[in-house]
């Protein structure tokens, strides 16, 4: 796990890694030693929490690096939820099993009905097998999303809100020395 953790640290930007990487490794080792005194369930939770923390943290740091400011995605914000972490409800597994069983039963029932109805039955007619429509549907959705994105960008561009105009007016010479982190 320690090796995996060390490897996952490479997801972070180099500057962050050089500042906190070694410290994070030391703290992780201490936390892992404590977690390893418990049973497999606690160990698994520990591993899942650490991996999730690293991936989300690395993502946030990259967003900050690219955008130049903190922009933690809304769904990671706990301002409203005031919960430490997402907890997967145990009852969901039961509900999903029931739903799956229902779907399987419905398919079985439909197959039985299809077999029992003769092709020449005039009120129903021949029941054709369902065609596989997943791929065309996905293509239509993706096409729609691309179109909506293009229209949205065009509107932003027309309103001078796309950032391109500001980028064109940007003078690097006048911004030198204004950046940099604050170290306390």
């Amino acid at each position: 796990m320690f090796t995996v953790y060390r490897f996952l640290l490479y997801l972070y930007p180099p500057a962050y890694r050089s500042e906190f990487g070694e410290e994070m490794l030391a703290v992780f080792r201490a936390a892992q030693t404590e977690a390893w005194k418990n049973d497999t369930l606690v160990r698994s939770r520990f591993c899942a929490r650490e991996i999730k923390g690293l991936v989300v943290g690395a993502l946030s740091e990259h967003v900050r690096t690219i955008a130049g400011y903190d922009r933690t995605p809304v769904f990671f914000s706990r301002r409203i939820a005031m919960r430490s972490e997402f907890r997967f409800p145990k009852v969901t597994v039961t509900l999903m099993t029931i739903i799956l069983a229902g779907v399987v039963l419905a398919i079985e029932k439909a197959t039985a009905i299809q077999a029992s109805v003769p092709d020449s039955y005039q009120h129903v007619g021949p029941i054709q097998p369902a065609h596989f429509t997943f791929l065309p549907t996905m293509l239509v959705i993706m096409g729609g999303a691309c179109l909506a994105g293009t229209i949205g960008w065009a509107i932003l561009f027309a309103l001078h809100r796309s950032g391109l105009h500001r980028l064109a007016e940007f003078d690097p010479a006048s911004h030198q020395g204004s950046g940099g982190r604050t170290h306390a």
Binding site: Y16, E22, M24, V27, K52, G53, A58, S84, E85, A184
Partner: protein, 107 residues
Amino acid sequence: MESLSVTEPVLLILLSLADRPRHGYAILQDVQDMSDSRVVLSTGTLYGALRRLLDAAWIERVEEQDTPRGRQSYRLTARGRRNLQLEVSRLKHLTRVATLRVARKEM
């Protein structure tokens, strides 16, 4: 509040540093103790929050000679303490309002 949203983990980290400086692992344990194990921070979450708090100058590193990286301690700055007090006042006010509203509803 100054340019930093005080999420629950951030609040707990600030509270952990309110009485004395602590290093990373001590903060993890203290946050877990304070929240009765409801909030268990990962190292990624902890150091993300510490980085933001350092950037906002709410906390600072305690400069010590020959301190290994894993034992690097942090403490609240005057700004961090002021903002923590503001947040605590906000929560007190919220609790007072909530208590009144709930009591009114029960009457």
